[in-house]
C-alpha cells in the first residue's frame, strides 16, 4: 500500500492524470507538429543545397580570367609586356602569367590535332589572371587594357555565374525564412490547441485551484502533454521527411540544382534537430498559453 503512495513522487505522473485525457484535440497537435516538421525537413534541404551551390559557384568565381591579346606580330611582345606590367599594378590581381606556345598548343589540340603549325597562324597571346579574395574592378581593368593594348580582350568566363550565386544565396535565405515561418505557424497552432484544451478543462482547473494548486502545477500537466504530443508528431514527420529526401533522385555528374536537393554527409544529422526543436516550441507556446489562460479563468 505504501509503495503505491511513494510512486507519487515529485513532478511525475500525478500532474498528468489530473487533467482528463482529451480525444481528438490530442491528435491535432501531433498531426500539426508532424506535418510542420515534415515541411521543415524540405526547407532545411533547400537551404543546405542552395548554400552548397552558392559556395561552389563563388569558389569557381574566385578562379581565373583570361586576357586574349591580338596584335600584329611586331607589336606582340611590346603589348604583352605592357599588359603584364599593367597587371602587376592592378589591385585585386593575385597572380598572372602569359602562357607559352607549348601550353597554347595544348589548349588547341582537342580542336586541331597535335600537328598544328602554330608559328604560321596569327595566334593571340593568352594571359591567365588569378584574382585574389577581394577581386579586381573588371570595368577599370578593361578600360586600362584598351588604352595599353587595343587588341586585348578580358574574358572573365566565370563572372556570368555571379547572378546565379546571388540567386542561390537568396534561395537559401528563403529556405531559412520558411523554417522560421513553419516554426511560428506551429507555435500559433499549438497555442490555439492548448487554449482550447484549457478552456475545455476550466472546471477541472477551478477544482485544482480550490484545493490549493499553483498555476505552475496546473500548467505543467498541460505543458507536458502538449510537449510529448508535439515531440511524437515531430519524430514521425522528421522520419517521413528524411525518407522523402532520401528518395529524391541522386545528383549525377550532370545533375542540375533540383537533383542536388538533398543532404550529404553530416547534413543528414540536421533534420534530427527538428523534433527536439519542435518540442521546445510546443513547450514554450503551451506554457505561455497556460499561464495567460489560468489568470483569465480564476
Amino acid at each position: 500500500m505504501r509503495a503505491g503512495a511513494s510512486r507519487r513522487g515529485r513532478g511525475q505522473g500525478p500532474a498528468d492524470e489530473i487533467v482528463p485525457p482529451s480525444g481528438h484535440t490530442a491528435w491535432l497537435t501531433t498531426f500539426t507538429a508532424g506535418a510542420m516538421v515534415f515541411l521543415c525537413v524540405f526547407a532545411v534541404a533547400l537551404s543546405l543545397a542552395s548554400g552548397r551551390l552558392a559556395a561552389r559557384w563563388s569558389a569557381a568565381l574566385a578562379q581565373t580570367a583570361t586576357i586574349r591579346l591580338s596584335a600584329p606580330p611586331e607589336q606582340m611582345q611590346i603589348q604583352t609586356d605592357g599588359v603584364l606590367s599593367l597587371l602587376s599594378e592592378t589591385p585585386g590581381v593575385a597572380s598572372f602569367r602569359a602562357l607559352d606556345d607549348t601550353e597554347q598548343r595544348k589548349l588547341l589540340e582537342p580542336w586541331f590535332g597535335p600537328d598544328l603549325p602554330l608559328e604560321d597562324l596569327p595566334m593571340p597571346r593568352l594571359i591567365e589572371v588569378v584574382e585574389d579574395a577581394q577581386g579586381y574592378d573588371d570595368e577599370g581593368l578593361r578600360q586600362r587594357l584598351a588604352a595599353e593594348a587595343p587588341g586585348a580582350v578580358l574574358d572573365d568566363h566565370t563572372r556570368w555565374r555571379q547572378p546565379l550565386v546571388e540567386a542561390a544565396s537568396r534561395l537559401r535565405l528563403l529556405g531559412v525564412l520558411s523554417i522560421l515561418l513553419i516554426g511560428a505557424a506551429m507555435a500559433a497552432m499549438i497555442t490555439l490547441a492548448a487554449n482550447a484544451s484549457l478552456a475545455a478543462n476550466a472546471e477541472v482547473i477551478r477544482v485544482l485551484r480550490l484545493v490549493g494548486a499553483k498555476d505552475s502545477y496546473i500548467a505543467r500537466a498541460f505543458v507536458r502533454r502538449f510537449t510529448i504530443r508535439a515531440l511524437t508528431g515531430a519524430l514521425v514527420g522528421a522520419c517521413a521527411g528524411l525518407v522523402g529526401v532520401a528518395m529524391l533522385p541522386a545528383a549525377g555528374p550532370a545533375g542540375g540544382f533540383l537533383a542536388g536537393l538533398g543532404f550529404s554527409g553530416v547534413e543528414w544529422l540536421w533534420p534530427l534537430l527538428l523534433p527536439p526543436l519542435a518540442a521546445i516550441v510546443a513547450f514554450l507556446a503551451t506554457r505561455r498559453a497556460a499561464f495567460a489562460k489560468l489568470k483569465e479563468l480564476t
Partner: protein, 223 residues
C-alpha cells in the same frame, strides 16, 4: 484566522455586501445564515480569496488578501478546507484520488492509511475506487468534507453542506463538523437551514451570523 473589516462587495456594479465585518477566532464555530441570494456564498468566496473586496480589508492568517500573489493564494488555500455547495470533484478520477488531491497538488505524499481512516470516518470505505458521478448526494457531501480536512487545514469553510441531503444525513454531516471543531478546527458553515442551526446549538457553542441589509449581524434571539 480570517477577518473582514468594513468589507464591501458587489457583482458588476450592483452592491451586494456593504460594511461587513467579522472575525473568526481559532477554534470557533460559526454559522452564516440568511435568505437565499443574501450573499452567503459570496462571503465564503471572499474568505478564500476567490473574490477580492471592492473596499475594506480582508486578512487571511494575518495577511491582507490584496497583497497575496497567485501562488500565495494557492498556499493559503492549503490551510483552508473548502466544502463547496456542489462538491467539485474530478469525475474521471476515483474517490481515493479525489480525496488525495490536496496532497497531490501540493506535491506531498499522502498516507494511504490516513486516507482509509478518513474514508472510514465519513463512512465511505467501500467507495474507495468509485467514480464521483456514481455517488449519491449524501455520499458526495461526506466525500467533499473528507477532502476538505485531509490536508490538515486550520479553517473549514462549508457552503450549504446539507443542501442536497435528507435530514438524517444532515445530522450526520453536522456531527462530523462538530467533531472537527472539537479537534481544534475553526469552522464556518453557511446554511439557510435554521433547523440545522437549532440542532447544533445543543452540541457546540456556535455563534450565528446573519446577513441582512447587506451587513452581517449576530443573531440569537430569533433562534
Amino acid at each position: 484566522m480570517i477577518a473582514f473589516e468594513n468589507v464591501a462587495y458587489g457583482y458588476g456594479g450592483a452592491s451586494l455586501l456593504s460594511d461587513v465585518s467579522l472575525r473568526l477566532l481559532p477554534g470557533s464555530f460559526h454559522f452564516l445564515t440568511g435568505p437565499s441570494g443574501a450573499g452567503k456564498s459570496t462571503v465564503l468566496k471572499l474568505a478564500y480569496a476567490e473574490l477580492m473586496p471592492t473596499s475594506g480589508r480582508i486578512s487571511l492568517f494575518d495577511r491582507d488578501v490584496r497583497s497575496l500573489s497567485r501562488d500565495d493564494v494557492a498556499r493559503t488555500r492549503r490551510r483552508i478546507g473548502i466544502v463547496h455547495q456542489d462538491c467539485k470533484f474530478l469525475d474521471h478520477l476515483p474517490l481515493s484520488a479525489n480525496l488525495g488531491l490536496p496532497f497531490t497538488v501540493a506535491e506531498r505524499e499522502s498516507d494511504p492509511q490516513d486516507l482509509r481512516a478518513l474514508l472510514d470516518w465519513v463512512g465511505l470505505s467501500q467507495l474507495h475506487d468509485a467514480l464521483p458521478p456514481t455517488l449519491s448526494g449524501g455520499e458526495r457531501q461526506r466525500a467533499a468534507l473528507a477532502r476538505a480536512v485531509i490536508g490538515g487545514p486550520d479553517v473549514i469553510l462549508a457552503d450549504e453542506p446539507t443542501g442536497n441531503v435528507d435530514w438524517d444525513m444532515s445530522l450526520r454531516l453536522l456531527a462530523l463538523l462538530v467533531e472537527l471543531n472539537r479537534m481544534g478546527k475553526t469552522v464556518l458553515v453557511a446554511t439557510h437551514d435554521l433547523n440545522l442551526i437549532r440542532q447544533a446549538k445543543s452540541q457546540v457553542s456556535a455563534r450565528v451570523l446573519r446577513i441582512a441589509q447587506q451587513r452581517i449581524q449576530v443573531a440569537g434571539a430569533d433562534l
